[in-house]
């Protein structure tokens, strides 16, 4: 499933300028993803759009600023809510695509 990638996060756009001027957090103003990684075993993703791929060794998540890939071993999705998800397992890499 393909998600259209938004350009709103890019610098120079009106929304970005407004957010900068008002000193608002970007995750709220622009809907940018927030990723909390605890050690190598836990990652919490907020403001995501959907799951693109989910296997034992790879989780691909679509966000407003592109895809985030979590690679590792024994990856599990601990919970999966409207705006937040938690990935557990042995995470070896996290990259923006």
């Amino acid at each position: 499933m393909a998600f259209p990638m938004s350009r709103e996060y890019e610098k120079g756009t009106f929304k970005h300028k407004m957010a900068e001027a008002a000193n608002l957090p970007k995750d709220l103003a622009l809907g940018l993803p927030v990723v909390h990684v605890t050690g190598r075993s836990e990652a919490c993703v907020e403001n995501y759009r959907g799951i693109l791929e989910y296997t034992d060794s790879l989780v691909r998540v679509q966000t407003k600023c592109g895809q985030i890939r979590f690679t590792g071993k024994h990856l599990q999705i601990e919970y999966y809510m409207n705006d937040e998800m938690k990935i557990t397992g042995r995470i070896t890499a996290m990259e923006y695509v």
Partner: protein, 410 residues
């Protein structure tokens, strides 16, 4: 913790999802607000947990994504009730238990009294019982304000009372007045003398009321008058014209010689317990006794021990039920002889105890001539003690009538 409890109460399932595009299934679930958790891939399938409510909303999603779902396991209270739906007695018991707990919570099961030092719990409880405040009464019948008033009215030395109901306990807190002075009862005192209650020599004498008839250094015998309660009233020519009677009061110390003798047989019989014993356990309800076992035996010598425990609910609520154990232990007697040192220690210990008791009574020991003789069969502690001890006992004063001579007769 709370989340886990709510999940258990509402019930949830572990499902296995087989699909060509499981990601689409997951995203659709998310869009429709179907909560999934604990996702783990198993080959081409995915296992996850879903709530019962979520599972009911799953049908259109499954149709749309051509996904196959199998239920692996069911968890939670709704499934528990469904599983045991035929066990009616179990549910009756559970409901009955809740009802019993509710019914029991309607009564007062414990009256706790705090802060009392001179008045015992029993005294206050007995008074409360008179006022119909007892263990086992209904909670709604407890009138705390009245209890406070009643206690204040009944006990003068209690200066502050607080009563409140906490759960099924009636808590009573009191504060006693520690400065209370008890006034001695005023009564008409009879005139009395002080007479010697033992033989000896007076060493010290302080007279507060009455006429002293002996002085320090005088030897007195039992029955001798020491202080007279009759005070003579003299006229100008030193003639007795009357008497004033009063209760003689004095501290008199007398030096006495007290004989001391204690004999002790050296031979004694020692109990040696054999391992044999018989036990009887019982449960008693007023006069009805139900027992298990017996204490009947053929022992030559035996001692009986009884332990009984009264059942109480909480602190003071005594039930008319008790349980206990009777035990008959067999023993045989072994004749033995105390050793010389042993008997000497025992006799001197007894003598010291005797001296200690005398000192407690305010007696001073001046001289000690007690000696211990140990014979073949008998040990004796014998001698005399010279003591200074308080003496004197009250005796009614003899009333003497004085003839009133009129001036005309003179």
């Amino acid at each position: 913790m709370f989340v886990l409890l709510m999940r258990y109460l509402k019930g949830y399932l572990r499902i296995c999802v087989t699909s060509t595009s499981p990601e689409r299934f997951l995203n659709l679930c998310r869009n429709r607000g179907i909560l999934l958790w604990g996702l783990s891939p198993h080959g081409r399938d995915y296992e996850m947990y879903i709530s019962i409510r979520g599972f009911r909303k799953l049908k259109p999603v499954l149709k749309k994504t051509k996904t196959k779902v199998t239920i692996e396991e069911r968890f939670g209270l709704p499934f528990f009730f469904h599983k045991y739906r035929k066990r009616k007695m179990f549910f009756c018991g559970a409901v009955g238990c809740v009802m019993i707990v509710y019914l029991l919570s309607l009564f007062i099961w414990n009256i706790h009294i705090d802060g009392n030092q001179t008045r015992t719990d029993e005294t206050i409880l007995a008074f409360l019982e008179e006022k119909n405040t007892v263990h086992g009464m209904l909670r709604k019948d407890v009138d705390c304000e009245q209890i406070v008033k009643d206690i204040r009215q009944q006990f003068d030395d209690i200066i502050w009372v607080s009563a409140y109901v906490k759960g099924t306990r009636l808590m009573i807190q009191v504060k006693e007045n520690s400065d209370t002075i008890t006034m001695p009862a005023t009564e008409m005192e009879k005139p009395s003398d002080i007479v010697a209650d033992k033989d000896g020599v007076v060493t010290e004498m302080i007279t507060r009321k009455g006429v002293p008839l002996v002085h320090a250094g005088d030897a007195v015998k039992k029955g001798d008058l020491l202080v007279s309660g009759r005070v003579e009233v003299l006229n100008d020519s030193k003639e007795v014209i009357g008497y004033q009677y009063q209760t003689a009061d004095a501290d008199i110390f007398v030096q006495t010689v007290c004989p001391y003798e204690e004999k002790m047989e050296r031979a004694y019989e020692k109990k040696i317990y054999t391992e044999k014993e018989r036990r009887k356990y019982y449960l008693k309800w007023n006069d009805i006794k139900v027992s298990v076992g017996t204490t009947k035996n053929q022992y030559q010598h035996a001692e009986r021990l009884t332990e009984e425990y009264r059942w109480t609910l909480g602190e003071h609520f005594v039930l008319p039920v008790s349980h206990g154990m009777e035990r008959e232990r067999e023993y045989r007697l072994n004749k033995k002889l105390y050793g010389k040192e042993e008997v000497q220690t025992m006799l001197s210990e007894n003598f010291h105890r005797f001296c200690g008791e005398l000192e407690k009574k305010g007696v001073q020991i001046l001289e000690n001539n007690v000696k211990i003789h140990i014979g073949q069969n008998l040990a004796t502690a014998k001698g005399t003690l010279t003591l200074i001890e308080p003496a004197g006992e009250q005796r009614e004063t003899e009333i003497i009538e004085v003839e009133q001579k009129t001036e005309g007769e003179q």
